[in-house]
C-alpha cells in the first residue's frame, strides 16, 4: 500500500517540557490508522505538527505527492479537536467557503454538501444559520467540511467526542467507506472500543512517547494476553498458585485471572485444579480498552511489583 504520510522521529517541547518525543509512524492509502492515548498524551500536538499549525523541534513529516516542505493542504482534510464554525452564517455558505479555500470546484462542492447533509440527517438545513444548530449537528457540519473536497488524507482529531451513539455509528460507517474508497485516514481517540472496531493499525502514545505500534491483530496477539473470569467463591492463594497466572483481581465472588503471554488456552484449561468452585467461566483476550487503561494508569509497574510480592 502506498504511504501517504510518513512521520519520523517527531519531537516537540514547550519551554522545558517535552510534549512528544521520537514519534514515528506511517499512514497508508485506504487504511485507518489510529493514534491512541490518554488525555494529554500528545495526540493533538502530534496532529498539529503534521498540519503545520505548530512547528516541530525535531523530526520530519513527509507527504506523498508533495515536493519540498510545503504541506499539500488542498489534499488534506482536517477535523481539529477544538472545533467550531462561524456563527452568523448559513450552513451552505460556510461549507462552500471551506471548499473554496481548498480550491475545490464550487458546483461540485455544493452537490457533495447537499448529499452529505442528507446522509447525516440534516436535509434542508443548508440555509439555516450555524448558530441554530445543536452541538452534534455542528459537529456533522464540521465533518462534512473536512471531507467535502475529497481529500487523499483525512486527519480526524477525536471525531467521536460529544456524539450520541447513533451519530457515532454514522461517523464510523462514513469513515470506513472513505477508507474503502482509498482515503488514507489518521484518527485520534481515547475511546478504545470504537477504535478497536475500525482501525487497521494503531499507534499508542503515552506521555509523548510510543508505547505500541502495529496492526490491530498484531497488537492484540502481542499484547493482549488471555484472561479467565471465574464466578465462584475461591481463595486468592488457590488461584495465584495455578500455573501461568500472573495476576488475580477479586471482587465478591468474581475472580479475574490474568494469564501469561505464552499460555495456550485449551491446555491451560485442562490443568485447572478440580477443587475450584466454578459457576461460570469465560476465557477471552484482554481488550484494547484494558490494555489502554493498564498503560494509562501505569498498572504494568504495579503488576511487576505484585509479581515480586508473590
Amino acid at each position: 500500500m502506498e504511504t501517504m504520510l510518513s512521520v519520523k522521529n517527531l519531537g516537540k517541547a514547550f519551554k522545558d517540557k517535552q510534549i512528544i518525543k521520537d514519534i514515528s509512524f506511517d499512514v497508508r492509502k485506504g487504511e485507518i490508522m489510529a493514534i491512541l492515548g490518554p488525555n494529554g498524551a500528545g495526540k493533538s500536538t502530534t496532529i498539529r505538527n503534521i498540519m503545520g499549525i505548530m512547528y516541530p523541534d525535531a523530526g520530519t513529516i513527509d507527504f506523498q505527492n508533495s515536493n519540498g516542505k510545503d504541506i499539500p493542504r488542498n489534499k488534506i482534510g482536517y477535523l481539529p479537536e477544538e472545533r467550531g464554525l462561524y456563527k452568523n452564517v448559513n450552513v451552505m455558505d460556510i461549507l462552500l467557503y471551506l471548499a473554496e479555500l481548498k480550491d475545490y470546484p464550487l458546483d461540485k462542492a455544493k452537490e457533495r454538501a447537499l448529499s452529505y447533509l442528507k446522509k447525516f440527517d440534516l436535509e434542508g438545513k443548508d440555509k439555516v444559520s450555524v448558530e441554530e444548530l445543536s452541538k452534534g449537528m455542528g459537529q456533522k457540519v464540521q465533518f462534512i467540511a473536512s471531507v467535502i473536497h475529497e481529500p487523499e488524507l483525512l486527519i480526524l482529531d477525536e471525531p467521536f467526542s460529544g456524539l450520541d451513539p447513533v451519530s457515532q455509528e454514522l461517523f464510523k460507517q462514513e469513515i470506513r467507506s472513505l477508507a474503502e474508497k482509498g482515503t488514507a485516514i489518521l484518527l485520534s481517540s481515547h475511546q478504545m472500543n470504537l477504535v478497536e472496531e475500525m482501525a487497521d493499525r494503531l499507534f499508542m502514545i503515552h506521555r509523548g512517547q510510543k508505547v505500541i505500534y502495529g496492526t490491530m491483530d498484531d497488537v492484540k496477539t502481542q499484547y493482549a494476553n488471555f484472561k479467565c473470569t471465574i464466578h465462584g467463591k475461591n481463595a486468592y492463594d488457590d488461584l495465584i498458585r495455578i500455573l501461568g497466572v500472573q495476576r488475580v483481581e477479586q471482587e465478591d465472588d468474581k475472580s479475574i485471572l490474568y494469564l501469561a503471554s505464552d499460555i495456550h488456552p485449551a491446555s491451560w484449561l485442562k490443568q485447572l485444579p478440580e477443587q475450584l468452585a466454578i459457576q461460570e467461566l469465560t476465557i477471552d483476550r484482554i481488550s484494547l480498552h484494558e490494555i489502554f487503561i493498564d498503560i494509562a494508569t501505569d498498572k504494568n509497574l504495579l503488576q511487576e511489583a505484585g509479581e515480586l510480592h508473590a
Partner: protein
Amino acid sequence: MRNTMKVAKWEIKRNMKNKTFLIGLFLTPILILAFGFIGSLFGGSDDAEPSATTVYVHDQTGIYPALEETINQSDLNWEMEQTDIDEADVESILEASENTAFLFINDQAIETGVVPVYTSDEIDQFFINQVQVLTTPLQALKIEQFGLTEEETASLLQGITFEEITMEDAAASEEDAEEAEAGLGADPMERMVPGIFAGIIMFSVIMTGMATFQSASQEKKDKIAEIILSSLTPSDLMQGKIVGYFVLGIIQVVVFFVVLLPFAVWKLDIPIIEYLLVPETLLLVFIAILSYLMFASIFVGIGATMSDISTAGNFQGFVMMLPFAPLVIMGPVLSDPSGIVAQVGTYIPFTAPGVLVMRLSTLEQWPWIEIIISLIVIMASVWIFMKLAGKIFKVGILMYGKNATPGEILKWLRA
C-alpha cells in the same frame, strides 16, 4: 495572494449579508444628515443675516458718491443714505431707532480730520472699526484740496509698510509670486474639501479597521481558526481580513458620499466636486489608506490575543485608543498648523496620518520635506506593525478561550 483574496471575499460577503452591518452602513450617514437637518431647523433664526446698519450721512462737501462706492466695494452690511438732519436733532432720532448711525462730513471735519459719529445704543459692535474704511476717500478729498495730481495723491495714500523677507523666502517668493497672487483670494475650502474627504475615508476605514479586531477575536471565540488554518497560512488569513475590511470601509465611504454629497452640494455654497478632483486629494487619500493599514494590522493582532472585547485588559484597551491620538492634539495643530505640536505629531507613527491630513488641509504651502519624512515614518511603521501583528496573530489565534497577557505577547514578538 489568492488565498488572501478568498478570505477577503468571504469577510466582505459575510458582512454584507449581516443585518447589523447593513443597518450601520446606511444609518451612519442618515444620522449625520438628520442631525445636520435638525440643527438647521433650530438654528434657522440665528442663521439669518443680521439686519443691516443704517448709516445716514450729512454731507456738505460732495464726497458722498465716493463714500458710497467705497462701501459697495467693501463687504459691509450697510445701508447708506444722505440726510439733511442737523446734529442737534440727531439725539432724539437715535433714541427711537436701532442699529443706526449718523456721520457729519463738512469742511470743518475735513480740515480737522475729525468726523463726528452718532450711533444708537444698539449697534453692530464692530461699527466703529468698519467706519474706518471711509478714511481713504476722506483723506483723498483732503489731499485733493492741496491741488496734487491723482498720482501724487495715490502715492501719498499708499503709506509705508515694512515687509520681512528671510533668505529662504527670497528664493521661494520669486517662483511663488504668481501663484500667491492667484491664491490670495482663494477659498480656504479649496484645501479643506480634499482634507475633509480624506478625513472621512480615514474615519470610516479606521472604524472598520476596528472591526478586524472583532473578527479576529470572533475567530478565536468560535474556535474555527484551526479549521481555516488547515487550508491556508496565518498570514493569508490575517491579510485577507485586513483587505476584506478595507473594502468594507470603502463601501461605507461610498455609501456615505452617495447619501451626503447631494445634500452637501445643495446646502453648502461650495463647488465641492471641483475642489475634490485635484491631485492633492490623491495624496491625502493615500495617507488615509496607510493609516488604515497601520491600525488594521495593530487591531487584528490584538484581536487575536483575546476572545472577547469585554475581557480586554488595560493594555488592549489602551491600544484600542491609539487611532484617536490625533484628536487629542487636534486643537493645537489646527490653531497653528506649522507649530511645534503639529511638527512633532507629524513624525509620531500613531498621530502622523491624522496630523498630516489636518495640516495639509489648512496649510497654504505644503511643507514637502516634512510630508516626505512623515510618509516614510508611516510606511515603515505599517511594515513593522504588519510583521509584528503577523507574529502575534499566528500564536494568539489558536489560543482558545484564554486572553494573552502583555508578557506573553512580548514573548511571541521576540520568538
